[in-house]
Symmetry: C2
Subunit: 102 residues, 2 copies
DNA sequence: TACATTCATCGTAAAATTACGATAAGGGAC
DNA sequence: GTCCCTTATCGTAATTTTACGATGAATGTA
């Protein structure tokens, strides 16, 4: 027997959808640690992040993608490596939204 | 073949663990909407929240439990019903932490 | 007493996330 | 060219989350 779960649409503004997506991105310890590390070590490489996390390279890369997709970080290719940094606009937007929203 | 996934421990302070848990709680549209609704309608009943969400009562109750468990809301039993309100201390802590952390 | 109302919890199916090894893609060095 | 180095992506297993109907517990009412 196959039972399909209904897809739900919620009544959120576009801004609140973005806020929720950012909250979700922050809501995993590995990603929280990545953002913390990036704020202490701007422009660092993926390998540096892998070194400080108890996770395989592939998993870290996956978490980086989540952070990229919500615009919290951006990576730039430098030779064979990729260096990441926090996207200040997104972070400012997030902080402002949190301070005004609740 | 059975492959066990390793349990990971992350290097976060207790405060950052709490922050991450709160982010995760906010990181679902239904729960975001619940918090929004509660900030507009303090002390409202579970039924009122169920009415504005596109979800079954059991599901809403489950989301309320998530918010309760992180201390974002608290419920008080009033006769046969339960009225909920936002926990201001937690919310203040969260906002302060966000504004200072990133 | 019985019955209705409200809501949390249980059991479970579906969906999404997390994690890893393997692989591929794109440079630099030689 | 070949050989490393770095990192993203693929495939997939394990885990967690989400969602719902059913049930139960607590309260109020007739």
């Amino acid at each position: 027997m196959v039972i399909k779960q209904a897809v739900k649409t919620y009544n959120l503004t576009t801004e609140d959808e973005r806020l929720t997506a950012l909250m979700k991105a922050f809501g995993h310890p590995a990603r929280m640690q990545i953002v913390r590390f990036l704020s202490d070590h701007p422009q660092c490489f993926t390998g540096d992040i892998v070194d400080v996390l108890p996770l395989a390279q592939a998993t870290v890369s996956q978490h980086l993608k989540v952070l990229r997709d919500v615009g919290l970080i951006c990576g730039s290719i430098e030779g064979p490596a990729t260096s990441y940094c926090i996207c200040d606009e997104t972070l400012s937007w997030f902080k402002k939204k949190v301070s005004l929203s609740f």
